[in-house]
Symmetry: C2
Subunit: 123 residues, 2 copies
């Protein structure tokens, strides 16, 4: 699969899982993974998913605007950079966000998220 | 220097150079470096700086809103994620942007930019 198609497939999978079954994201992180969520750093799959599943909203829907990817230069890793909109249930306006992922291949031929940085883009 | 301070120092240096002497950015890239600028991929220091110095505006000023950084997990590299505003000379409104850098240490004890992904955040 070419890198752009792989990045798009990852992004589709990530945000569909986020929007329908947030605890299912645990499979995408490992112990060394780090999430920076609005400036707060959280390490390890369990802690990251605990953060994501306890965000102060129940339902949300991500709409992706752009996906950029580049090889990360090491271990066939890949950098994926996303921009889009986040619609929370009950809120009138969508929030704009940007997020980047550093994906690392697993021995099983899949990828996991080593680095994840998320920011809302305040208007 | 701790990673957050290093990231902030890099960001300060990068955007000051961009705003005052864009061709000076050549020193920050190498042959293997890649820039994704609004979806266009450009490789190599010379090509990247040619792109940046021929953007369709002469003067600009970046104002940084957030800087996040994480160790990239390999070679003591570092991921730096920036959001901010870009004011072009003669334009009434600033443009919001997000940008990420993958910094790799050099044998000389400095860093160069291996990966650079830039996107405007359209309102």
């Amino acid at each position: 699969m070419d890198p752009d198609a792989l990045a798009k497939a990852f992004v589709e999978h990530y945000y569909t899982t986020f929007d329908t079954n947030r605890s299912g994201l645990a499979n995408l992180y490992q112990e060394g993974s780090m999430l920076s969520f609005e400036g707060q750093k959280i390490q390890g799959s369990q802690n990251i998913v605990a953060k994501l599943t306890t965000l102060p909203f129940q339902q949300c829907h991500h709409s992706i605007t752009t996906v950029d990817c580049q090889p990360s230069g090491v271990n066939a890793g890949m950098l994926v950079f996303v921009s889009g909109n986040l619609q929370l249930a009950g809120e009138q306006h969508a929030l704009k966000f940007s997020q980047m992922f550093h994906l690392i291949p697993t021995p099983q031929g899949s990828y996991y998220v080593l680095n994840d940085i998320f920011r809302l883009n305040y208007a």
